[in-house]
Symmetry: C2
Subunit: 126 residues, 2 copies
Amino acid sequence: MGFSEQLKEMVASVDGAVACSVMGFDGIAVETHNAEIAMAQTADLELSNAWVEYSNLLQQLKKAAAENLKTGPISELSVNTEKVLTVMRMVNQDYFVVMGLLPTGNYGKARYVLRLGAPKLAKELV
Amino acid sequence: MGFSEQLKEMVASVDGAVACSVMGFDGIAVETHNAEIAMAQTADLELSNAWVEYSNLLQQLKKAAAENLKTGPISELSVNTEKVLTVMRMVNQDYFVVMGLLPTGNYGKARYVLRLGAPKLAKELV
């Protein structure tokens, strides 16, 4: 199963999920799946712009964790606003997976699905 | 009820919570409550250093959200590692509340307690 199918399955398995991407820390998406049903509700949020910003922060966090902090490597980052919840999970040293969901979406399930999905995506990224 | 009591109550109500602070975006804590029982397990994590780093990121995020992003103001940020989960919630324009918990702690409860606690802390900060 390729990226596209994996991302599609991940989006389908989380209530309220609107999009899921595999991204590099440079903010460039390798692959994205958008939930069609939710696009009308979220098009004006310009999620891809937010994700570029978040990838930059995640990159900084990763660096700080490696160089200055004693809390261990970052495994997950979540940035939530009133309009959209965003969960990011590390895939490997170069990539992470990100899912956006509606505020009413199943946040716990999103975390679970990313945790399980990240190692599978890592295998594809070799 | 002052800050100190509020933070103490918040820590007490979340399984696995190790500390809770009200902090400025400059990374300076106004007040902190540490759960005594957990301190031995987390002293080597140097949480206060991590929280200074996170406050810097939260500051950047707040600025980006206000200036460049269409996803709305940041309400919550969570940075999780294998050793410690950290949930931050905006209190007002100048302060946020942060809780650290063990990876086995009740993450959902921590989010809930911060969401409910933030407006109460905001009243104290006037």
